[in-house]
């Protein structure tokens, strides 16, 4: 079916091929659709490899990725769809030999190692932990992993905003809302940031901040890099520029005058990533390097009820008077209140099950949103939905796979096979592991085996050595035979040199546990969970051996130690495609970054302050670490309050613009932590309720 375009969209599509245009408008005004049609036109005239599509976050590149992937006729070379970080890494990797020395790396002939969020945190722990042992950071009550991530965040902000990393503490001290006792911790965080930077130079490590710095200071000025841009990126699409950081805008400021064509796209009311350094006002300055400006106003989908609701709710958030007559909100809004958190979660699952059963909405058209998504919340919701035969997914990385019985099972066997680690396997651990390993083994028999054939000091004993025939019969010879196979496998392993943990687990899985007659034979899901674990261990092994020269065997123990300290490793599900018929469970911001509309949204626990205030981050502050921050000024309580208000209002508008049919808003009297919260979002809804009640003659929402 041929798409029809509005006049504004047509203007964008038909722009001369050599134009640099700035397109702005609200969400849903068809900007990205116009950009895709423009891309199609460009690709008819230039080879794909000459097109750069720059987006602030991978998920925002999805429409472009889908366009190329699903275009049945497209042939030729392929456009690059990149984030600033991806671009910086690609270029730094390519031109590393030309810049490593001048950038200050101690061993410039060695390759750089690009740190992930997790490996960066691991390295930061090596800087911070010894200092904590000396008593530093004792005025900070947050858990240590959050200390690491906030120091890294400060470094990142310095790089993308463009200030020196030794200015961090001085800036942060301008926050009048901080406890005075925290001031020394800011100096300590500053010192750790500087130490971490030196550590990176010593070990050729590139965290995100250093990638950005090295790219801008050393790679971008190279003629080779310019030539690369001329060859590969003469045509630029830069979407959601308001969600990107000043460094990305700087790059485009520099490149746009030299490129052949550009289309920059800005969502007027967005800016949801300001806490990550996004700077909408800085983005706007890019107009100056464009030769034309187009404003998209038309909204495609008729969401009248939702628009009225959004206006009504916004006036409540702002404490402004409402319109004289409030519309009937029942068609678009359901408010429910629960006593306890689990009750609310069950209520969500029941409501969704009902909707799917009535075929009123498909699972893929539903999202469940919370301000933050803990592993526990995600897990509970997944279970509740699964019990109702509803598929769900979350794009958030998770440590939950470490709690999977299959994963615990193989780790228990790893400990059994390596007594030299001196990590005891409890009877319960062994019992659960055996139930995973031996099909149809019930808990009573598994317990009996663990009690009879196992002692932490001697390991797993032989079934054949059991002298009590009654005991053998209770365990059964069938299970006894399997136990002997396990023992024999472990003994053979023990008779040879130890293997790195990931290789040990692969072998254990392939040669024993996934063979016919054992528990993981054709258990796809268990296989996938163990694969996640093995991949995480393998990456960690390679990281430790390449960077720190650790021997491959010791990396396994280090992995377990690090996991137990709560640091590693999240499993990132490399999902390029969301599952088609599944409910998305996500933090509200993450959903906004998918930039897609759905039929129904569920907002959880709207009384939570998380909908309003930013996470408690005493060692960082996104508002002070901004480009437009004036040194010498202060960040007051009022500014903080207003920033929270503005943030919530943006968030709410962004979500409602992406809700096509119905919003379910759930509150709870006693939250996850057992306390009562009546945050500003709940208050806004209560005001709305009163207003509706008043104007509609007693009719409630």
């Amino acid at each position: 079916m041929a798409l029809t375009y509005t006049e504004t969209q047509q203007n964008v599509i038909q722009l001369p091929l050599d134009s640099r245009a700035f397109l702005e408008g609200p969400a849903g005004s068809g900007k990205t659709s116009a950009a895709l049609a423009r891309l199609e036109r460009i690709l008819q005239h230039v080879p794909g490899h000459e097109v750069l599509i720059l987006v602030p976050q991978r998920s925002l590149g999805k429409p472009y990725y889908d366009y190329v992937k699903n275009n049945p006729d497209y042939r030729g070379s392929l456009p690059s769809i990149l984030t600033l970080g991806g671009l910086a890494q690609r270029m730094t990797n390519l031109f590393w030999p030309l810049v490593a020395e001048q950038a200050g790396f101690r061993d410039p002939v060695r390759l750089p190692y690009f740190l992930s969020l997790e490996t960066a945190q691991y390295c930061m722990s090596r800087i911070v932990d010894p200092k904590r042992e000396q008593g530093l950071f004792n005025s900070v009550t947050i858990e240590k992993n959050r200390i690491y991530s906030q120091i890294l965040d400060n470094l990142n902000k310095a790089a993308v905003v463009g200030f020196a990393i030794d200015e961090i503490a001085a800036r942060l001290k301008a926050d009048l809302n901080l406890e005075p006792s925290l001031a020394p911790a800011l100096d300590q965080a500053q010192a750790c940031a500087l130490d971490f930077r030196r550590f990176c130079f010593d070990y050729n490590l590139m965290d995100y901040s250093l990638q950005i710095e090295v790219f801008f200071k050393h790679v971008w000025p190279l003629p080779h890099c310019r030539k690369y841009f001329e060859t590969f990126y003469p045509h630029v699409f830069f979407d959601n520029i308001e969600e990107d950081v000043p460094a990305a805008h700087d790059l485009m400021q520099a490149w746009l005058p030299e490129c052949k064509s550009a289309l920059l796209i800005m969502d007027r009311q967005a800016g949801y990533r300001t806490f990550l350094g996004a700077d909408p006002s800085n983005a706007e300055a890019l107009k100056s390097v464009c030769d034309r400006q187009i404003i998209a106003q038309d909204t495609f989908k008729s969401l009248t009820g939702m628009v009225d609701f959004q206006i009504a709710l916004t006036s409540c958030i702002r404490h402004e008077p409402s319109a004289a007559i409030l519309p009937d909100l029942n068609p678009v809004l359901t408010l429910k209140d629960f006593h306890f958190y689990p009750e609310m979660l069950a209520g969500v699952a029941d409501e969704i099950a009902g909707m799917i059963k009535n075929a009123s909405v498909q699972a893929g058209e539903i999202v469940i949103l919370a301000p933050y998504l803990s592993d526990a919340l995600k897990f509970s919701l997944e279970q509740l939905l699964q019990n109702r035969n509803i598929h769900s997914y979350s794009s958030r990385p998770s440590r939950m796979y470490l709690d999977e019985p299959a994963v615990k099972c193989v780790l228990a066997f790893a400990k059994l096979a390596h007594p030299q680690w001196e990590m005891t396997v409890s009877h319960f651990e062994l019992r659960d592991a055996l139930m995973q390993t031996l099909p149809n083994l019930d808990v009573i028999r598994a317990d009996l085996i663990a009690q009879t054939l196992y002692a932490p000091s001697t390991g797993l004993k032989s079934f054949d050595g059991v002298t009590n025939p009654q005991m053998q019969a209770r365990i059964t010879f069938a299970f006894g035979e399997k136990l002997e196979q396990i023992r024999a496998w472990l003994q053979t392993y023990a008779s040879k040199d130890a293997l790195p943990l990931d290789i040990f687990l692969s072998r254990l899985f392939g040669e024993l546990l996934s063979q016919k007659g054992f528990g993981f034979f054709d258990r796809y899901e268990a296989g996938a969970h163990i694969a996640q674990l093995i991949n995480a261990i393998k990456s960690f092994r390679q990281f430790l051996s390449v960077v720190f020269g650790m021997d491959e065997i010791s990396t396994g123990i280090e992995f377990i130690r690090t996991v137990e300290a709560g640091l590693l490793p999240s499993a990132f599900l490399n999902r390029d495609e969301a599952p088609r018929d599944a409910v998305l469970i996500a933090p509200a911001h993450a959903f906004l970054m998918e930039n897609r509309a759905v039929a129904c949204q569920f907002w959880l626990d709207i009384g939570s302050l998380g909908w309003w205030e930013r996470l408690n981050q005493p060692l960082t502050n996104p508002y002070i670490l901004r480009r437009d921050w004036q040194p010498g000024t202060v960040w007051s309580y009022n500014q903080d309050f207003n920033a929270n208000q503005e943030h919530m209002q943006r968030l709410v508008s962004g979500l409602l613009q992406r809700c096509e049919k119905h919003l379910y808003v759930y509150s709870v009297q006693t939250n996850e932590r057992g306390s009562e919260q009546r945050g500003p979002l709940l208050q806004a809804f209560q005001t709305l309720r009163k207003r509706v009640f008043a104007t509609q003659g007693g009719k409630d929402v």
């Binding site: 030729g76 070379s77 390519l94 031109f95 030999p97 002939v109 072998r507 016919k516």
Partner: protein, 276 residues
């Protein structure tokens, strides 16, 4: 799960299908991660693959303008040094007017996308297009085995299908396309070249069309296991298919060159194919 209409066929996925349809089903349709060992010794394989990666990266850097002497100064491994010297001797003997290193191309057959990730695409002044692939394996693959590899079919096919989109000012014919493999561990007699022709293009189109048609027409669960059971020694799914216990040893392949030459999953130089 039936195959998606926009499934992207690549050299790896085709070769997996040709090696074993069941492996194709498990890997690409069911997307089943099965964490068993593929071959032994794992660390040796990792080391070889890492060296292969480093070589490809160095060549990519060189082709993007990083001077040879700077690259040579950064090599600490004698083998890499030698490989790079062999590569350089070959490359400097050629006169290319336009090159694209680590370059992805996409073509379409009956609405099914095909993708190729080429180590180098290079155009000569007389209008010949070379698709070059760097091989870091110690043994030179036999010509007849390489000829049968899907890469030798797919890459020239895609290159010709895309040629007008990459080089709009030149009219490339099948005769102008050359697919070549450079075995960089070898200082001499290290290039295997396959010339292309309109006939090869037609044959390749027919072969690819038929293979895609065959794959698309298969019902889930009907992808059969390979009849050549020795392949299973080098496949992660062997327990799932009840095709053995232990992984094959790389040393075994020394005596089975026909197998070694065609095992797509054990190619140190296999490019990671991008998601398009």
């Amino acid at each position: 799960m039936p195959i998606e209409t926009n499934f992207i066929f690549s050299a790896n996925s085709f070769q997996d299908y040709l090696d074993c349809p069941r492996r194709f089903e498990l890997k690409y349709l069911l997307k089943q991660n099965w964490p068993a060992e593929e071959s032994e010794p794992v660390l040796e394989f990792e080391h070889n693959a890492e060296l292969g990666n480093r070589f490809h990266r160095m060549v990519h850097q060189y082709l993007n303008g990083v001077p040879q002497e700077i690259l040579l100064a950064s090599i600490q491994d004698a083998a890499l040094h030698e490989w790079f010297a062999n590569f350089h001797a070959f490359y400097s003997s050629r006169k290319f007017v336009q090159i694209f290193s680590e370059f992805s191309l996409r073509a379409v057959i009956n609405q099914s996308p095909l993708v190729a990730v080429c180590d180098l695409i290079a155009l000569t002044a007389d209008g010949n297009l070379w698709i070059l692939d760097w091989k870091t394996s110690a043994k030179k693959t036999r010509r007849e085995n390489l000829n049968d590899r899907i890469q030798s079919i797919l890459y020239p096919f895609i290159a010709l299908e895309c040629a007008d989109r990459i080089f709009p000012d030149i009219r490339l014919q099948a005769e102008n396309i050359h697919m070549a493999y450079l075995f960089v561990q070898h200082p001499a007699d290290n290039l295997l070249t396959f010339d292309y022709s309109p006939d090869s293009h037609q044959q390749n189109r027919a072969f690819l069309t038929a293979t895609i048609g065959e794959i698309l027409s298969k019902e889930p669960g009907t992808f059969e296991c390979t009849a050549e059971a020795r392949r299973c020694r080098f496949c992660v799914y062997r327990s799932l298919c009840e095709r053995g216990i232990t992984a094959g040893n790389l040393a075994e392949l020394e005596d089975a060159s026909d197998l070694q030459d065609t095992l797509s999953n054990l190619d140190f130089d296999a490019q990671e194919e991008i998601a398009f």
